[in-house]
Symmetry: C2
Subunit: 137 residues, 2 copies
Amino acid sequence: MAACDLCDNPGGELLWQDALCRVVRIDEPDYPGFCRVILNRHIKEMTDLNVEDRMRLMDIVFRVEQAVRDVMNPDKINLASFGNVIPHLHWHVIPRFTLDRHFPNAIWGPARRETPAHAIDVHTASKLKNRIQQLLT
Amino acid sequence: MAACDLCDNPGGELLWQDALCRVVRIDEPDYPGFCRVILNRHIKEMTDLNVEDRMRLMDIVFRVEQAVRDVMNPDKINLASFGNVIPHLHWHVIPRFTLDRHFPNAIWGPARRETPAHAIDVHTASKLKNRIQQLLT
């Protein structure tokens, strides 16, 4: 198997993990609070997982969604699982704001406006980590 | 409430429905077999649904994923729920091919190549509808 970045690296700041998967926050200045839920195994599609793991993974994605909503108070949540570049299951949980760089486009689409970089502050990052850990206990 | 296109219209060719949601195939010449799972109620976020409906909706999304894999045999499946333009829960289930118009980019991103339009043929469309109905029975 070719080297896989998500097999070899955490893929962000580790916020929580168990045997199935991990939750990380990625450093994306245009999207503070952007988290990913990454399967620990190298599996390509949700339907390659057994039903139990599949539903448990989604339950974790939705708990992360709830934590991101609670702390970041976004106008919208975007969820996506692509894996076109890295075919290792990972879910994007993205807080969106009507004035963010791409809104209402997908963040992978054309930018709609220039926005000052606004990296997450230490206090908010800490609140997000705590809230995720609280909802995943 | 402002008029909502997904409250007022099926949103594609109706393949299956129940009280919670419907499955449609959309007419997207670059992406034959592109399906959506659309909640019947006007709800914005997955975490606005109760846990039972949330998990049932995902179970349907994954059955559609399986049907799309079985019939279209894609190189990858892309799943996404955005709702930035229409804040009414709907999931995109997109069969991706390494030579499609955007691969490996998201379909909302920059095109990577020109591809001849290749609308789904009647036979394949029928097989997809049958397979979805079979897996959702």
